[in-house]
Structures are given as structure tokens and as C-alpha cells.
């Protein structure tokens, strides 16, 4: 098939370095991948085209880039699936990370964050003489996470990192989960308290906005966002609830579970630990003032929805342990 590959290029050594688009026409077999096209261009037409690639089989994690606007592995993307009506495909470097040249980006910040989660097993107590005894299920579950090839596709499309570069991000947090969920890591019960404590701090698990982009971008089914949610649950179960994220979640659920709707006035207050947190209360003042002057102030008296008992029944059904006969007492998740 004859295809047009439209590539966003960047040459840092140009007189005025700026991104620009370049189109290449290539002929390829019908089952070719986007990577096949790029390699062919590089080898036969333009030796200056720069990208990372190696294994050609979605295991080395080198070739993540944006294909038609979304992060993917070039070697795992069949051209036939992404060509438009004119047999064209658009290829850009991965997002979030700074571009070095053409389709190569600077992974330094990526690896710094991996390092920040102390990415190695930290068992407490003596090692057994033989292997640790662990269930196959627990290992299979972990293997679903260790299947991560560190390609950076999730980071590329993370909507939080786009605006907040301090966020640890989906790859590093999934890596962290790989340890917190490992029965060999942490104390004798397999609870990695120190890690969960760290991860509950700002820039950690509570900064994810659950946009699901990382789940869609991940070429290996790691589903980083789901791992972040699991981390939240582990952190709260381990008692790390004295942070805005955990309080926010708890207040959110409590409110909906109790009245069937969100108490928008109380939510921010409970999230920061209550009205006594004077600093945080003061920081809300400008927003509060704007809301008031624009007629957006939530009602001072929070009312239940009609038939609130139905909502409560739902909550009881979903989380019988937490909601028992009484509703809204403990702090489950939304």
C-alpha cells in the first residue's frame, strides 16, 4: 500500500529551532506497522529522521510516540488501523516530556520519578533460605503491573502532568503499586506502610484526576489509573487519611451516601481537615467571594434528594461492610 506519513520534526541545531511538519510517501506491505514505515523512511529516504526503536515487538519500550494525536507504540500499531481516507497518518513525539530531536524526547524527568518511588523490593525481616512462598494469583496480579515496559505512553497523555510537572505520574505510581501490592514488600503482613505514607503526600496518589487517558494509552494493559485507585485504598486502609485527598474522597462519599447529592459547601472544608484549618480557609476566600458575587454560591442548607433512601440502599448494597445499617459513618471510596 502507498501511504503518506506526516511527521512533526524538530532540529535543535537549526538556526531557529522550531517544530515543523514534513510528509513522506512510502510503499509498504499491507500488514506493516507505523514503525516499519518510519524505519523505511529513515533507511531509504532521510537519514536525518530520528527516533528510538529496537525490539519491533512491543517489549523494549523505545518507540512510544503520538500517532494521530494519541500515545502508542509505533511497533504495535498496524498502519491499516490508523490511516485516514487519504491513506495518511500523523506522527508526533510523545507529549509532556521535552523533545530532544524529531520523535525522541528527554526521559530524564520520567526516570527521576521512577527513582523517587524507591523502585526496589524492601522486605522487612530476614530472607527465607529458599523462595518466598506466595500464591500464584498474587504473582499473576503483580505480573499484570510488572508488564509495564516504561515506554512513557501513559506519561505522554497524562492530563495532570500536562499542567503540573511535579505530579509523580501514572508510570511511577504504577511502579510503586507493584511494590505495595507485593506480599514480600513491607512488614510481615505485606503492608508497605512507609511507601504508602510517602505516596499520600502532595504530588502523589491524590493528584490523579481519573481522566482515564493513561489506561487508554498503555500498550501493555497495565491500567495505571486503576493501580493509583488501588493505592488510595491501600493508603486509607493503612490509616493514611490525614491528607486532603483522602479527606476529600471520604467527604464526597459521605455526602452522597447520606443526602444523595454533593454538599459543595462542606466538601472543600472537610477536604482540608475542617474549619479549624485557618490557612486553607483563608486561601478559599477569593474563590468564595467570586462564587458569591457571581451567584454561584452553593446553598447554605444542604438538602437531601427526593427518595434519598434509594441512594442509601445502593450504597449499602455496594459496600455492605462500610454502610451496614448506618450510613455515611466511615470513609469508603467513590
Amino acid at each position: 500500500m502507498d501511504v503518506t506519513v506526516k511527521i512533526k520534526r524538530f532540529d535543535p541545531e537549526a538556526d531557529h529551532p522550531e517544530s515543523y511538519w514534513q510528509e513522506y510517501a512510502v510503499a509498504l506491505p499491507d500488514n506493516a506497522t507505523v514503525l516499519d514505515a518510519l524505519i523505511k523512511i529513515r533507511e531509504e529516504q532521510d537519514g536525518t529522521l530520528t527516533l528510538r526503536c529496537s525490539c519491533r515487538s512491543a517489549i523494549c519500550g523505545s518507540c512510544a510516540m503520538r500517532i494521530n494525536g494519541h500515545a502508542a507504540l509505533a511497533c504495535k500499531t498496524a498502519l491499516s488501523r490508523v490511516l485516514d481516507g487519504d491513506n495518511a497518518v500523523v506522527v508526533e513525539p510523545a507529549g509532556v516530556m521535552p523533545v530532544v530531536k524529531d520523535l525522541t524526547v528527554n526521559f530524564d524527568p520520567f526516570w527521576d520519578k521512577i527513582r523517587a518511588v524507591e523502585p526496589y523490593l524492601q522486605p522487612q525481616g530476614a530472607e527465607p533460605a529458599g523462595e518466598y512462598i506466595a500464591s500464584n494469583e498474587s504473582m499473576l496480579h503483580l505480573s499484570g503491573v510488572t508488564a509495564c515496559i516504561m515506554c512513557g505512553a501513559c506519561v505522554s497523555d497524562c492530563t495532570v502532568l500536562e499542567v503540573d510537572p511535579t505530579f509523580l505520574g501514572p508510570a511511577a505510581l504504577a511502579k510503586a503499586y507493584r511494590f505495595t501490592a507485593d506480599p514480600r514488600d513491607g512488614n510481615r503482613e505485606g503492608v508497605s506502610r512507609e511507601r504508602l505514607h510517602q505516596l499520600s503526600e502532595p504530588t502523589g496518589i491524590w493528584d490523579c484526576t481519573r481522566c482515564n487517558e493513561c489506561v487508554e494509552a498503555c500498550p501493555k494493559g497495565v491500567a495505571p489509573m486503576d493501580r493509583i485507585m488501588a493505592l488510595r485504598e491501600q493508603a486509607v486502609n493503612a490509616g493514611f487519611t490525614r491528607n486532603n485527598g483522602a479527606r476529600h474522597t471520604s467527604a464526597f462519599t459521605e455526602s452522597v451516601g447520606h443526602s444523595g447529592r454533593l454538599d459543595e459547601l462542606m466538601l472543600p472544608i472537610k477536604s482540608v481537615g475542617g474549619i479549624t484549618n485557618v490557612g486553607a480557609m483563608l486561601s478559599y476566600a477569593p474563590v468564595g467571594w467570586r462564587a458569591l458575587t457571581h451567584g454561584k454560591m452553593p446553598p447554605l442548607r444542604h438538602k437531601n434528594v427526593e427518595n434519598v433512601e434509594n441512594v442509601r440502599r445502593l450504597f449499602r448494597k455496594l459496600e455492605p461492610d462500610l454502610y451496614g445499617p448506618e450510613i455515611g459513618k466511615s470513609s469508603p471510596f467513590g
Binding site: 529496537s54 515487538s57 530532544v100 523462595e131 506466595a134
Partner: protein, 559 residues
């Protein structure tokens, strides 16, 4: 100037294991790799890692025997003994580091069957064992405090008066050349699969370390022993792991017959790789395949097993060939996969060059002899990586730094590279030369080979070398100039290809992966010896070394 007691070149499994060991022994250690460590080719290993665990009723001597027989008796038995004895500890160490090995019902490490072995002793993580091990090794590297030069490409060894004292390296991201001084150097640069086209190997596997060592005067041993893997995917040539057959998959011809009955009635699909690949090639040559392929049939294994244990290769089949192995047989053929040959070392990784070590696929200790058993390579990288690291750290205590003029060394290398960049565009491309080499190697130094075909390869290589001397580099820039890196790699590849072809021409018998149609049987009387290729005036010069035989006697090889 950058200075280290131990400098490890290559950050695959062997390299990281060596660096961690050297660091643990107190040496100032650095590791240098042309790609980020986790992008290394060890990633690609799918099936697993062998070890005879005593508490499972297994015996290292059994493992050793299978390995020796697999090697067609060309493996050195002392080295094989070291590997098989150390396997259990190496495996448990990896488990303690955090590898998520599949388990059995009791929660202990689970095994699967692999080719050429009478017991199931292959430990695994789904079908991405290499990736699982590599990432854990990288975790340990982070923990160890080893200095890491990532995306630095070694362009030459610094040698003064026959003594190796460091390397020059191109920092790919900036294009800057550096000299690094080191008391000891450990080559862990992996194999040379890309000399062949197609190959199961990643694009970065270009034999750099073998060529660097060879050009410095080290011997490359048993280079004719090139493993063709029985199950590589039609078209792209990507690997479908032996794990599929280990889990019970069949090989069938176009009529659905399990043709292995004819070639290995006992072990069937799980005979050793050279045997299975030859069987397939014979069937394909006899017209019993379709489009040059026979079939890997997993349809009777069931979706549940495939999802738990073979998910990654299922994905490969779907992505790259549009075939779902749950539902239909996958077209496969023998494909170049591994090189048993490599830089000759002793059991501590020492090469014949003082202070220079090698471990992993680039080395030849020799534990694989004429044919490597599946899942013995990961073991080789870890066992001999660790031993080299230990030994080099110890040795570096009594070795002084080689004095050399950094400026001079770097500008000499810059001059060489400038010359390449300034070549006029004669219309040729390194890509074409590489393809010519790859196709000639696969065509002529194939599963079956003879005098004539190998001579043809040697002729082709000579012509390609002439073209290489003139080939232009199109990208003249500094930053991330992969065009330049590929051109340099091609030089390494041509050197290594020469040694393979010359060795294959020399060995006038059939043993392991060397199947000569003009010398169809094994000839223990004349050829039970290693072939060593050293750089001579006009090309590789051949000499011989005896095979170390301890207690396992020669026998006819039947599966």
C-alpha cells in the same frame, strides 16, 4: 576525566549483574550502554530461565548432562558444571530481588518444560521472563549506586602498548565524544543477530563488543555456531517462544501431520533447537510447508492457558501476522536467533587480553557449545555476569590506571568520525549494505550450509566491505545522530560476519548448529575442538583449542 575501577560495557542482564557484583565488592563501578538499560535486548527473552532446584528432586548433574548433550559435546564441561551448580542460587537471588515468577499450587516457584531437557526446570514469568528479570535487575542497579552512562555508544577501545585502558564513547544525546579510563573492562554487549536478515533479535544487537575485542586481539570462539530458532513468525521474523511447545503446542506440516515423529520420536517438538529447525527446513524444502512455513498449533491448549502463560506471543501473532493462536495455527519457520560463539573467556570471564572480561551472549565460556538449550542463556548471563564482576573488582585493586592523553585520544576518534561524516554522497546507503549482508548470511550460512554457500557469503562480505569504506552518512548533525551510530555499528557487524563465515567454512563436519550438507556427520576424531578466530593481516586467522571434558562421555545424539 571519567575514571572507574570497573567499566561494564552493556546494560543487559549480564552487564547489570556484573556491575552490581563489582560495586558490592567495593569497586568504583560504572556501566555504559547505547540504550537505556531497560531497553536492552534481554527484554525479549520470553520463555524462562533454567535451574535444577534440589528441593524439587532435581539434580544439577542432570541439568549439566542435558546441556552437554544439547551442545553436541562441544561445550566445556568445567564451565557447564559451574553454571549448573550455581543456577539454584542465582534463581533464588533473583526471586529475592523481586521477580514475580509464576508459582505452583503450594506457592513455590512453578516450572515449565523446555526443549532438550528431560525434566521441567524452566522457571518463568508468563512469557516475558526476560523483561521481568531485566527490570528487576535495573531496580537493583538503581539501589546499588553504580554510575550509569545511558545512551552512550562505545566507539573504540583505548589501547597503549597492547594494554587496554579505557574506551571512547559518543554521548548520543549531545554528540559529544568522551574518553573513559578504566582499570578493568567487562564486555556485556550481547549478541549479533542483526548480521542476519531476518532475525529474532532487536535492531540494536549488532555485535559491537565482539568486534571491539576482536580488533584488540581477543579470540572469537565457535562463531560458526549460530542458532536458528524453530518458531519465528512468518514475515517479520519475530520470535514465538519455545514456551508454546513447552506448554504442549504441536508442529504441523501443511497436511496437519506432526512431522517431528520422524526426527525425534521421543522428545518430539521438544527436541533440541538445532534438531527441530533442521526438521522444519527439511519439510519446507520437500514442499510440505506453505509459503516457506510450517505451523505452530496451539489451538488445543485453550484460551485460559494461553491467556495466563502465553499472552505476549498471542499478542505478537495478532499484531504482526493477524493470526490469533487461540483459534488457528500460526505460520512459522526457523529464524536466526542466538550466537553460541563469542569472545573466548575462562570461567571468571577473563579474556586473553589482560584486564578485559566478557560475559553474556557476547562471550563464549563455553556453556552452549554447538547448540544452546532454551532458557540456558538467561542463566549464563546472570551466573557469569556475577562472576566477572566479582573477579574484575578484585583484580582492579592491583591494576594501575593506564596513563594516556585524553585530548589526543578523543581528537583521534573525532577525526575518524569527521572523516565518515565528510564522505561525499555516492548514492549508497548503509541500510542497503546491511540488508545485503543480512540476506547473504541467512541465505548462505543457513540452517544447512556447505562449502560453496559459505564461500559465497565470504565473497559477498568482501564486496560489502569495499562499499562500506565509501558509504556516506547523511545526517551531519551532532545531537542524537542515529545515522552515524548505525554506520559505525555496520562496521562492527561486517567484522563479526567475517569470523562467522570463516569459521563455518573451516569446520568440516556437522555438529550442533553447524549442519554441513557436504560433511553430514559429526567427526569427533578430527573436530572435537573449538575454533578460535583472531584478527590477522587480511582477515580472521584460525587456531584451535581442546574441548574440556570432565566426566561426561561422548555419545551419539538422539532425541
Amino acid at each position: 576525566m571519567l575514571e572507574h575501577d570497573v567499566l561494564v560495557i552493556g546494560a543487559g542482564l549480564a552487564g547489570m549483574r556484573a556491575a552490581i557484583a563489582a560495586r558490592a565488592n567495593g569497586a568504583n563501578t560504572a556501566i555504559i550502554s547505547k540504550v537505556h538499560p531497560v531497553r536492552s535486548h534481554s527484554n525479549a527473552a520470553q520463555g524462562g530461565i533454567n535451574a535444577a532446584l534440589l528441593d524439587r528432586g532435581d539434580d544439577w548433574e542432570d541439568h549439566a548432562y542435558d546441556t552437554i548433550k544439547g551442545s553436541d559435546f562441544l561445550g566445556d564441561q568445567d564451565a557447564i558444571e559451574v553454571m549448573c551448580r550455581s543456577a539454584g542460587k542465582a534463581l533464588i537471588d533473583m526471586e529475592h530481588m523481586g521477580v514475580t515468577f509464576n508459582r505452583d499450587d503450594e506457592g513455590k516457584l512453578g516450572t515449565r518444560a523446555f526443549g532438550g531437557q528431560r525434566r521441567a526446570r524452566t522457571f518463568f514469568v508468563g512469557d516475558f521472563t526476560g523483561q521481568a528479570l531485566l527490570h528487576v535487575m535495573f531496580e537493583q542497579l538503581i539501589k546499588s549506586g553504580v554510575q550509569s552512562y545511558e545512551e552512550w555508544f562505545v566507539t573504540s577501545l583505548i589501547i597503549e602498548d597492547g594494554q587496554v585502558g579505557g574506551v571512547t564513547a559518543l554521548e548520543i544525546r549531545t554528540g559529544q565524544l568522551h574518553a573513559i579510563r578504566a582499570k578493568t573492562i567487562i564486555f556485556c554487549t550481547g549478541g549479533c543477530g542483526r548480521l542476519f536478515e531476518p532475525s529474532t533479535n532487536a535492531l540494536i544487537v549488532t555485535g559491537d563488543g565482539m568486534a571491539l575485542a576482536y580488533n584488540a586481539g581477543a579470540g572469537l570462539m565457535d562463531m560458526e555456531m549460530v542458532q536458528y530458532h524453530p518458531t519465528t513468525l512468518a514475515g517479520s521474523g519475530v520470535l514465538l517462544s519455545e514456551a508454546a511447545r513447552g506448554e504442549g503446542a504441536y508442529l504441523r506440516d501443511k497436511n496437519g501431520n506432526r512431522f517431528m515423529e520422524k526426527y525425534a520420536p521421543n522428545m518430539m517438538e521438544l527436541a533440541s533447537r538445532d534438531v527441530v529447525s533442521r526438521a522444519e527446513q527439511t519439510e519446507i524444502n520437500a514442499g510440505n510447508g506453505i509459503n516457506g512455513c510450517v505451523f505452530l498449533d496451539c489451538t488445543h491448549l485453550g484460551e485460559a492457558l494461553i491467556t495466563e502463560k502465553l499472552s505476549q506471543i498471542r499478542e505478537i501473532g495478532i499484531d504482526l501476522a493477524g493470526v490469533d493462536m487461540v483459534r488457528e495455527p500460526v505460520p512459522i519457520r526457523p529464524g536466526m536467533h542466538y550466537i553460541m560463539g563469542g569472545i573466548k573467556t575462562d570461567i571468571d570471564g577473563q579474556t586473553t587480553l589482560p584486564g578485559v572480561y566478557a560475559a553474556g551472549e557476547c562471550a563464549n565460556v563455553s556453556v552452549h557449545g554447538g547448540n544452546r538449550l532454551g532458557a540456558n542463556s538467561l542463566l549464563d548471563t546472570i551466573v557469569f555476569g556475577e562472576r566477572s564482576g566479582n573477579h574484575a573488582a578484585e583484580a582492579s585493586r592491583s591494576i594501575p590506571f593506564l596513563p594516556f592523553n585524553e585530548q589526543e585520544v578523543v581528537s583521534r576518534e573525532e577525526q575518524r568520525i569527521r572523516e565518515m561524516l565528510e564522505r561525499p554522497d555516492n548514492g549508497d546507503r548503509w541500510g542497503n549494505i546491511r540488508l545485503g549482508m543480512g540476506e547473504s548470511m541467512v541465505g548462505n550460512v543457513a540452517v544447512y550450509r556447505d562449502h560453496q554457500s559459505v564461500e559465497e557469503a565470504i565473497r559477498d562480505l568482501g564486496q560489502l566491505r569495499d562499499r562500506y569504506a565509501q558509504v556516506p552518512v547523511h545526517n551531519k548533525n551532532r545531537v542524537f545522530n542515529t545515522d552515524l551510530v548505525f554506520a559505525l555499528e555496520l562496521g562492527y557487524m561486517l567484522d563479526v560476519a567475517d569470523t562467522i563465515a570463516v569459521s563455518a567454512l573451516d569446520r568440516k563436519e556437522s555438529r550442533g548448529a553447524q549442519a554441513r550438507t557436504d560433511y553430514p556427520s559429526r567427526d569427533d576424531e578430527n573436530w572435537l575442538k573449538h575454533i578460535v578466530a583472531k584478527k590477522g593481516e587480511v582477515g580472521p586467522e584460525i587456531s584451535y583449542l581442546p574441548v574440556t571434558i570432565t566426566k561426561w562421555e561422548l555419545e551419539e545424539r538422539k532425541y
